[in-house]
């Protein structure tokens, strides 16, 4: 279905001033075809220092984080704090549809480059700001690295072992959530601009982006004045009788599996018990489980003995298999079980391969080709694709400053020596 698809945003130019997880916003717009120009400070931006690194060599041209979220962008260097830099930036804004930034609130206004100024330069421009807490409000000036946003968004309190400190996801996620919301806000602003001709300021923030993860925990407080607790590898609130596992150890790692009641148990338990029996588990406890009418099993009324018996038997069975054996066996039998996968499992995953998910991008300067996650969505009419590896530092300076904006060579040389580009 890909061959006749079109790049929806190919007529749009995006100026991307963001760093860190906020880079995702421009990357997604790039996937939809926009001409995204990443503007870095001379010498390269701080995101190039984020690991991991290609062959573990810490070098600004070898950050895998940069490769991931700098992709589908062209790159120029520009110091927007200098007078010349500001002037050049405004010239670029005249040609742009969207500007994305992730500076502390007020930073751009302080440089004379806030939304009011940019919209004077180009009334159609959309300015998208991505911050930990938002452009206004009591916490707007608070510092918000990932762990702080995760804490303040309410997610950490509910995650982790009950006898230890609450934990975040070990790979930072908060800024991606803010950037993802920023993409949606920017798309709404674009649609509005298409019908009204007006730009606007999009204000996305990490803390507010995360409250939806909190599921029913806020309702528990609002309705019952109950504060849910974190339960480690067990399922929060799954049974009043005994804590039920959501994560189980197997031969080479872990699998995700939970005990259900009702219709799901009716479908899932018989084939699972048969599978276990076929592999030699047939003692008295197994017979007891096999005799049950699982479709009538009520999670709320099940007694501790049967839950404990199930958990004991499943734990023993899972230990005899690898995660991929358990996954494949479960897929065959319509049992809901998934591997607790790692990047290695993803690259070997049958489904992702069959759907043509992976995309290869050449990195000629490294003499190699790397495989990236491809389309975040398959669409029959518009393309969502990875076309361009992340830019080298200032890779497109000449292309953009000279060929597109028409700066004479002498001026560029002066700007380079003046530390502007």
């Amino acid at each position: 279905m890909e061959q006749q698809t079109k790049a929806l945003l190919s007529s749009l130019r995006v100026l991307d001033l963001t760093e860190g997880g906020s880079l995702l916003c421009g990357k997604v717009l790039g996937d939809l075809g926009a001409d995204v120009i990443k503007i870095e400070r001379p010498g390269g931006g701080p995101s190039r220092n984020i690991g991991p690194f290609y062959h573990d060599i810490p070098d600004p041209e070898k950050s895998l984080f940069w490769f991931a979220y700098g992709a589908n962008k062209r790159g120029i260097t520009l110091d927007i704090e200098t007078t010349d830099g500001k002037g050049i930036f405004k010239r670029l804004v005249k040609t742009a549809d969207i500007v994305i930034e992730s500076f502390p609130p007020g930073y751009l206004s302080g440089l004379g480059l806030g939304y009011d100024t940019l919209s004077e330069v180009n009334p159609q421009v959309i300015l998208t700001s991505i911050t930990p807490f938002g452009q206004t409000g009591p916490y707007k000036d608070y510092k918000g690295p990932d762990i702080v946003s995760m804490a303040m968004g309410g997610y950490m309190f509910l995650t982790g072992d009950p006898d230890r400190a609450p934990v975040r996801i070990s790979f930072p996620q908060a800024d991606f959530n803010a950037a993802g919301e920023a993409v949606v806000g920017t798309m709404i602003a674009l649609y509005y601009r298409g019908t009204s001709g007006l730009g606007q300021h999009v204000d996305a923030a990490a803390q507010v982006a995360m409250i939806r993860w909190l599921q029913n925990s806020v309702p528990f407080w609002v309705l019952h004045k109950v504060i849910l607790k974190r339960e480690g590898p067990y399922m929060a609130g799954s049974s009043a009788v005994v804590p039920l596992r959501g994560v189980w150890r197997c031969k080479d790692g872990f699998v995700a599996f939970t005990i259900f009641g009702g219709a799901i148990a009716g479908k899932m338990m018989p084939p699972l018990l048969e599978w276990m029996e076929a592999e030699g588990m047939s003692d008295e406890g197994m017979q007891k489980l096999k005799r049950r009418q699982w479709a009538e099993f009520d999670m709320a009324c099940g007694d501790a003995e049967v839950f404990n018996l199930m958990q004991e038997k499943f734990a023993a069975f899972f230990l005899t298999h690898t995660k991929s054996e358990l996954y494949e066996g479960s897929v065959k039998r319509n049992i809901m079980l998934a591997p607790v996968a790692t990047a290695k499992d993803h690259l070997e995953d049958k489904q992702l391969k069959a759907r043509g998910y992976w995309v290869k991008l050449e990195h000629p300067e490294l003499g190699t080709t790397l495989t990236y996650p491809g389309a975040f969505c398959k669409a029959s009419e518009i393309s969502c694709s990875l076309r361009r590896r992340a830019p080298l530092i200032g890779e497109h300076n000449l292309e953009i400053y000279q060929q597109e904006l028409g700066f004479p060579t002498e001026e560029l040389v002066a700007l380079k020596q003046g530390g502007v580009i």
Binding site: K6, L24, Y54, H55, L64, A68, G134, G137, K140, P145, A151, G153, G154, L158, D161, A165, P166, S170, F171, E181, V183, G185, M187, I188, A189, Y191, Y192, G194, L198, A205, V208, A209, R212, W213, S217, V218, P219, F220, V222, L223, I227, R230, G232, V247, F254, A256, T258, N334, M336, A341, H346, L347, L370, Y372, A375, F376, C377, K378, S380, I382
Partner: protein, 404 residues
């Protein structure tokens, strides 16, 4: 009040649980007319999710559903009834978007696959989302959030390295996916605005969710490293963690990255002698002695409520934040300022919160002004006002028992 950006856009929402409705909410909050088609035979799990008002379960009493799904109309249709397709097809003809997030094949079973929809309404946008996509060997593999969090890798990456993983609370991948869902829905609407053409969108939640982990996939590919969970530690910051504070299960996150922040941190805690020890003077030293450092930090934090730790640290330029529990979240001043929750009057719940603005748009802010619908609350209204049925037509269907 400004007109919603998607005023005039009509959505027939054959959705349940999370990703479908959460993606559609972006449109509903901008004025799109969204009709949720519901049935007791395929009831959204959220209506059956506790807590319930006064602890009494009921279709309209779930604290979760009523928080998640404001700004839509509910039409209750028995999909097993022989005349259900008459109504469903009228909805398809009316709509600009048909959204569905059932297991693969369900819409086809009803005769509502993309090809059939196109016959009824050539410009239709069909938004489909499920765990692993509409095609491929695992398209029909069933699973809930706990399974998809495992499959995507988030479970493996959460918790302490010396223990079993702790799945992230709830269903994280749902909320990653709905961001891409919202984006693609608007992209498809924009494409239609320009060309008049509809299309089919196939959002695999597995595929979408991996985009928040790309560097780790590259890391395995290049360095053969399988990233592991690391508690709260960060390779380039110390102290970096959640520290116990005064009170029951109260914690404050603190993160110190630079020399300057370290100096400020020491000053806030009163420059105790240990902070002058050479082994804590450098980042490398602090990382090497991290366990001890964390214990010393906690010796200080546990004397103060987390709010005080946060304020003192932030005022001194050190990143810190209360580990907010659900009560704190509901009362959070920043979230209130941003109208993250809106209080709306609901027929059964009374005044109850719904999710409000996910972000702010200076000219076209989200408008969350109608509470989550009661089950089948708008069946007649939708049929008469949106679908243009005459009174006789509607009564005829009503008598047939096609509505629930």
């Amino acid at each position: 009040m400004s007109k919603g950006v998607f005023e005039g856009v009509k959505v027939a929402e054959f959705c349940w649980i999370a990703v479908g409705p959460a993606s559609i909410k972006f449109l509903a909050d901008q004025g799109a007319k969204v009709v949720r088609i519901e049935s007791t035979t395929r009831m959204t799990g959220l209506r059956a999710t506790p807590p319930f008002l006064d602890n009494k379960p009921g279709l309209n009493r779930s604290g979760a559903f009523n928080l998640f799904d404001p700004n839509r109309y509910s039409l209750a249709l028995n999909m097993q009834h022989p005349r259900s397709m008459e109504v469903a097809k009228r909805l398809v003809a009316w709509a600009d978007i048909v959204a569905e997030n059932f297991s693969v094949g369900t819409m086809e079973k009803w005769g509502l696959g993309y090809e059939e929809l196109k016959q009824i309404n050539p410009g239709i946008i069909m938004f489909r989302t499920c765990n692993q996509g509409q095609t491929g060997p695992h398209a029909k593999v069933l699973g809930f959030g706990v399974h998809l969090q495992g499959l995507t890798g988030y479970t493996h990456l959460t918790g302490y390295p010396d223990r079993d993983p702790s799945p992230p609370f709830g269903t994280y991948t749902d909320y990653v996916s709905m961001l891409f869902g919202g984006t693609m829905l608007i992209a498809a609407l924009e494409h239609r605005r320009r060309t008049g053409k509809g299309q089919c969108l196939d959002l695999s939640q597995f595929e979408a969710s991996l985009h928040f982990l790309t560097p780790l996939i590259l890391d395995y590919e290049v360095n053969r490293r399988e990233a592991n969970r690391a508690g709260n530690s960060c390779p380039y910051a110390a102290p970096h963690g959640a520290y116990r504070c005064q009170g029951d299960d109260r914690w404050c996150a603190i993160a110190v990255f630079t020399d300057e922040e370290w100096q400020s941190f020491c000053k806030v805690i009163g420059n105790p002698e240990w902070t002058q020890e050479p082994r804590f003077a450098t980042l490398v030293g602090r990382k090497q002695n991290e366990d001890e450092l964390n214990a010393l930090v906690e010796k200080w934090t546990k004397n103060f409520p987390p709010e005080e730790v946060m304020t003192q640290m932030q005022n001194a330029g050190v990143a810190a934040g209360v580990v907010k529990n659900p009560k704190d979240i509901f009362e959070d001043p920043q979230l209130k300022h941003q109208e993250a929750y809106c209080m709306l009057e609901h027929k059964e719940m009374g005044v109850y919160p719904v999710y409000g603005k996910p972000f702010n748009l200076s000219k076209t802010p989200a408008q969350v002004n109608r509470p989550a619908p009661c089950f089948g609350e708008h069946t007649e209204y939708v049929c008469r006002e949106f679908l243009g049925m005459s009174e006789e037509e509607f009564d005829d269907l009503l008598v047939s028992g096609v509505f629930e």
